[in-house]
């Protein structure tokens, strides 16, 4: 005879206002094999947990049902309580009578009836629970950071400082990311390069950090503590060991192409480093544009290289490395502004994006920090800024706020007023959102001290006439249309996920939202973890962020990585699939259905009619299995069962509800 204890939580009034907890507890007392039941105001609190521990001892309970919130909230809490009470933590079942009952219903009578049904099911299931035990897996003490922007650099530095080896994989020839493209940073106006480049050098000189630039993640196998990551080293055509970064090659290279780093405002050579402070300061050859690779002629860079570093025969190289933890910090892309046909981006050269403007005002940028119209290189006197281009626009763009545009537009407008005499800076806005430390003060300074004009309203159309850009919009505060003759227009375009974010997420087995931003495990309580153990998030790949937020998140992710790597081994979750080898036919259907690549075939030998014969059966890698249960559904012979959620347990719940 099993002895079940049922504990009903009021969650203050969260549950109690729609569920008569006392009544549910009383009714639960009458269920078969329930030896004890009670209710309490806050079951998760210290005294609440003590109620459970005492009851287990007093009433010799061997199984526990807690009816409270979602198991995602407090299952770990109550499992620990059971351990303290001397029970196997997996002899616990939770009935979710908050999120799935009290929060979604209003009628107390019906709510109470439903809560009791949920409790009844949980009791039926817990009677079939078996004690489960955790095993442990070793932790490989090396971390991988994907993406070498400010978030990736910060995470790598923090992990390296704790004494662990970190590799940064960066697909560009240099680390630095978006922050390297930016000129000044709000709200302090300190130069981006002055605070970023020292960090880049720190990363390069840290003995624990390996920079794998011009590399990409090809494949990810394994699981927390033991990821086997295949990295593609793209052919640089330059021997990194021989090259000294002297620059002779790119000075002599005859091919000029538009520079991606300068957003097409400037040019670079076919053999190049993206910018002068690049780390490593060693070039790569852009084979698509290189004369030698296109025509077989030229070869100037090889001839002039004093150390013989240029190597046209280099090929991509694959390397597989084992890591204990992975930080994803792949950053963002910009929204395609040409979606807004009415703004004429792409048709009129003097309509640029915020990032173009950053390159333009950068002292080492293509215009040496001078603000010039791209069309005729004259100094614009009237500059119009349009905010929320792509952000907060469900019709054409993205519904979310890109978070940084209000601040960088205030910064740009301030710089226009500061750098150009007799200039006018006009900002069209929906709302001004400045909820950061010293942010609103910065915006107020732009308005009050720099005389930036803010017009509340959206721009409906921009067209060119008489050498000016005519910006037509509405001043919604005055309630009338406005038209501005501008010399240049800067569009504050939305931050969007990287184009290949979905692909990377599938390689890593992490989830992403409808906008392709990677999803954190919990929006409030686990903001840097993913649902895949051992994979962490930092920076804008998780959602729009500014530099302070990216850096903070990177350090948080690094702390999580260090906590993981500080252990020799870690316990695994025992809620995994198990194979009944006697029934398994070895069809392999479960292998293709498993999203975590946790199942493979193994050969077993068995004796049938006195003869030994060999056959293949499925085998679950408990380190990789995440307990999703997909295989148990796919299995035709019913050989697979999910521990803690066995077919018998689920059917017991159904019976309890329906019979």
């Amino acid at each position: 005879m099993k002895r079940v204890g049922v504990f009903i939580c009021h969650c203050g009034t969260n549950i109690a206002q729609t569920v008569d907890c006392e009544k549910v507890a009383k009714m639960a007392g009458g269920l078969p094999q329930v030896a004890f039941s009670t209710d309490y105001k806050y079951m998760c609190s210290e005294p609440g947990q003590q109620v459970i521990i005492n009851a287990v001892k007093e009433h010799r309970l061997d199984r526990v049902v807690v009816a409270s919130c979602s198991p995602r909230m407090h299952e770990p809490t109550f499992r620990k309580t059971l351990e303290k009470a001397g029970l196997n933590p997996y002899l616990l079942e939770m009935a979710n009578i908050r999120e799935q009952c009290s929060w979604v219903h209003q009628d107390k009578e019906k709510g109470t009836a439903k809560a009791f049904d949920l409790v009844k099911m949980a009791v039926a299931k817990v009677l079939k629970n078996e004690p489960l035990s955790r095993s442990s897996i070793p932790i490989h003490k090396r971390a991988l950071v994907i993406g070498g922007g400010i978030a990736g650099i910060q995470a790598a530095l923090d992990i390296a400082d704790a004494g662990y080896v970190v590799d940064i994989v960066e697909k560009e020839p240099t680390i630095g990311g978006r922050m390297a493209q930016i000129d000044k940073t709000f709200p302090t106006m300190d130069c981006s390069a002055c605070i970023l480049t020292p960090k880049m050098v720190d990363a390069a000189s840290n003995p624990n950090i390996n920079l794998l630039t011009y590399c990409e993640v090809e494949k990810v196998d394994g699981y927390v503590g033991n990821f086997d990551v295949t990295i593609r080293h793209k052919a640089r055509s330059v021997d990194m060991n021989k090259c000294t970064g002297c620059g002779t090659c790119w000075e002599k290279c005859p091919t000029r192409v538009a520079s991606e780093f300068d957003m097409g405002l400037g040019t670079r050579k076919a053999i190049y480093t993206p910018f002068p402070q690049a780390v490593p300061n060693k070039p790569v050859i852009d084979r698509e544009n290189c004369l030698y690779f296109k025509t077989g002629k030229c070869g100037v860079c090889q001839k002039v290289c004093p150390t013989g570093a240029v190597d046209y025969t280099q090929e991509d190289r694959l390397e597989t490395v084992r890591y204990g933890a992975i930080v994803v910090a792949t950053g963002f892309d910009l929204f395609d502004e040409s979606v807004y046909g009415e703004y004429g981006y792409g048709r009129y050269p003097d309509i640029i994006s915020g990032l173009h403007f950053e390159r333009m005002i950068n002292a080492s940028g293509p215009t040496m920090g001078k603000i010039k119209r791209p069309s005729d290189h004259t100094e614009p006197k009237t500059v119009v800024f349009v905010k929320c281009v792509g952000s907060r626009d469900e019709a054409k763009g993205k519904p979310y706020c890109s978070k940084t545009c209000c601040m960088y537009t205030a910064k740009h407008a301030t710089l226009v007023r500061e750098k150009i005499k007799d200039s006018q800076a006009i900002v069209f806005y929906m709302d001004v959102r400045t909820p950061g430390k010293n942010y609103d003060e910065f915006y107020q300074r732009a308005v009050n001290e720099y005389g930036v004009q803010y017009v509340r309203g959206r721009v409906s159309k921009i067209y060119q006439s008489h050498g000016k850009l005519i910006v037509r919009g509405e001043d919604t505060l005055l309630g009338r249309p406005v038209e501005v003759e501008a010399d240049m227009v800067v569009l504050a375009t939305a931050m969007v996920a990287r184009g290949d974010a979905g692909e990377l997420a599938r390689k890593l087995g992490i989830s992403y939202d409808q906008h392709d931003f990677f999803t954190e495990a919990h929006p409030k309580l686990r903001p840097v973890e993913t649902h895949t153990a051992g994979v962490y998030l930092a920076g804008t790949c998780q959602g729009p962020k500014d530099i302070p937020d990216s850096v903070a998140q990177a350090s948080a992710a690094a702390a999580k990585v260090c906590a993981l790597l500080s252990r020799e081994e870690m316990p695994t979750e025992p809620v995994v699939s198990a194979v009944n080898e006697a029934v398994c036919s070895g069809c392999g259907l479960c292998i293709s259905i498993c999203p975590y690549k946790a199942i493979e075939l193994k050969t077993i030998s068995e004796r049938v009619h006195g003869k030994t014969r060999e056959r293949q059966v499925a085998s679950v890698n408990t380190g990789l299995c995440q307990g999703c249960g997909a295989c148990t559904v796919a299995c035709r012979s019913g050989a697979l069962n999910l521990k803690g959620f066995t077919n018998e347990q689920i059917l017991a719940e159904v019976d309890a509800l329906c019979l």
């Binding site: 046909g341 067209y463 060119q464 006439s465 008489h466």
Partner: protein, 297 residues
């Protein structure tokens, strides 16, 4: 390609040049037009300010006849097109509307056929490349301001043709015919519709920047596919010019007139001699009235 043809009332009155040039051009491009028998008014302007069902039922009756014949409908007039397309969209999107409309018109109409503008057919089905092949009288030296107005491409979800902010179909067709389309910012601005008649002060104010922008862009003339735009730009031009002490002298053409001219038809058979802003001197000056070698039968 055989299509049901809905000319609408403008094409035999204020927009008679469109009514003359559209069938001539269609025939030359291999389009077989089957005029919807006993077609009725599309209800433009007056119906949809009177009654919602009336505004849908009027065009729906025409579409029902075409559907019986199993033909897609081609409409030259942008205003008619907008109404017919709106009826099609309404019937497609709601079963209840469909039943209601069928009851009113006492015919079956399931919106199985598609309404398309003549410009759409010429641009999408024939295409600039084909036009280029057929040109006998290239419109060399003619700088044109393609004026799409508001109805042809909007609302984009209903019209389902072209970029609503920067349409290019007329520009590309005219380019293929040898003309030089100018880049200007008033391609899709409203011409004022009926306002110049009802409220001249307001209506004429809307027209002025259209003339100004076209002139600034260096255009010799306007090209449109809408009888409302045509009438406004053609008829009010002198008056607006007078108000501002200038003479614009910017002839207005239907796209079918200019393409017809390029294909070798004579100005007279296309109706080009009927404009209020006399278009013949401009064409003569550009050398576009000379007889075509071999000629057209």
């Amino acid at each position: 390609m055989k299509l049901a043809y809905y000319p609408g009332c403008s094409l035999s009155s204020t927009g008679i040049e469109f009514g003359m040039s559209a069938p001539v051009l269609a025939k030359a491009l291999g389009l077989e037009l089957w005029e919807i028998p006993e077609w009725n008014c599309c209800g433009s302007s007056s119906a949809h300010v009177t009654d919602h069902n009336l505004a849908l039922a009027l065009p729906a009756r025409n579409l029902a006849i075409a559907e019986e014949a199993g033909l897609d409908v081609v409409v030259p007039c942008a205003a008619c097109y907008a109404r017919l397309k709106a009826a099609e969209a309404a019937v497609r999107s709601s079963r209840r509307t469909k039943e209601e409309i069928e009851k009113i018109i006492d015919r079956k109409y399931e919106a199985k056929i598609t309404v398309r503008s003549l410009l759409d057919i010429i641009y999408t089905e024939i295409g600039p490349a084909k036009i280029r092949e057929k040109v006998l009288r290239p419109l060399e030296g003619l700088r044109v301001a393609a004026y799409y107005g508001c109805l042809l491409v909007r609302p984009p979800k209903v019209a389902q043709f072209e970029d609503p902010e920067n349409p290019v179909s007329m520009d590309r067709l005219l380019s293929a015919a040898g003309a030089e389309p100018v880049d200007w910012g008033y391609k899709t601005e409203c011409c004022g519709g009926g306002h110049p008649t009802i409220s001249p002060e307001f209506g004429l104010k809307i027209l002025k920047p259209i003339y100004e922008e076209a002139r600034y862009a260096g255009a010799d003339c306007f090209v449109t596919a809408c009888p409302m735009c045509f009438t406004n730009l053609d008829m009010r031009q002198k008056e607006v010019g007078k108000q501002h002490g200038t003479v614009y002298n910017l002839p207005v053409f239907y796209i079918t007139e200019l393409l017809g001219l390029a294909l070798g038809f004579e100005a007279r058979e296309l109706g080009i001699n009927r404009h209020l802003v006399n278009a013949l001197p401009l064409l003569k000056h550009k050398g576009l009235l000379h007889p075509v070698k071999g000629g057209r039968e």
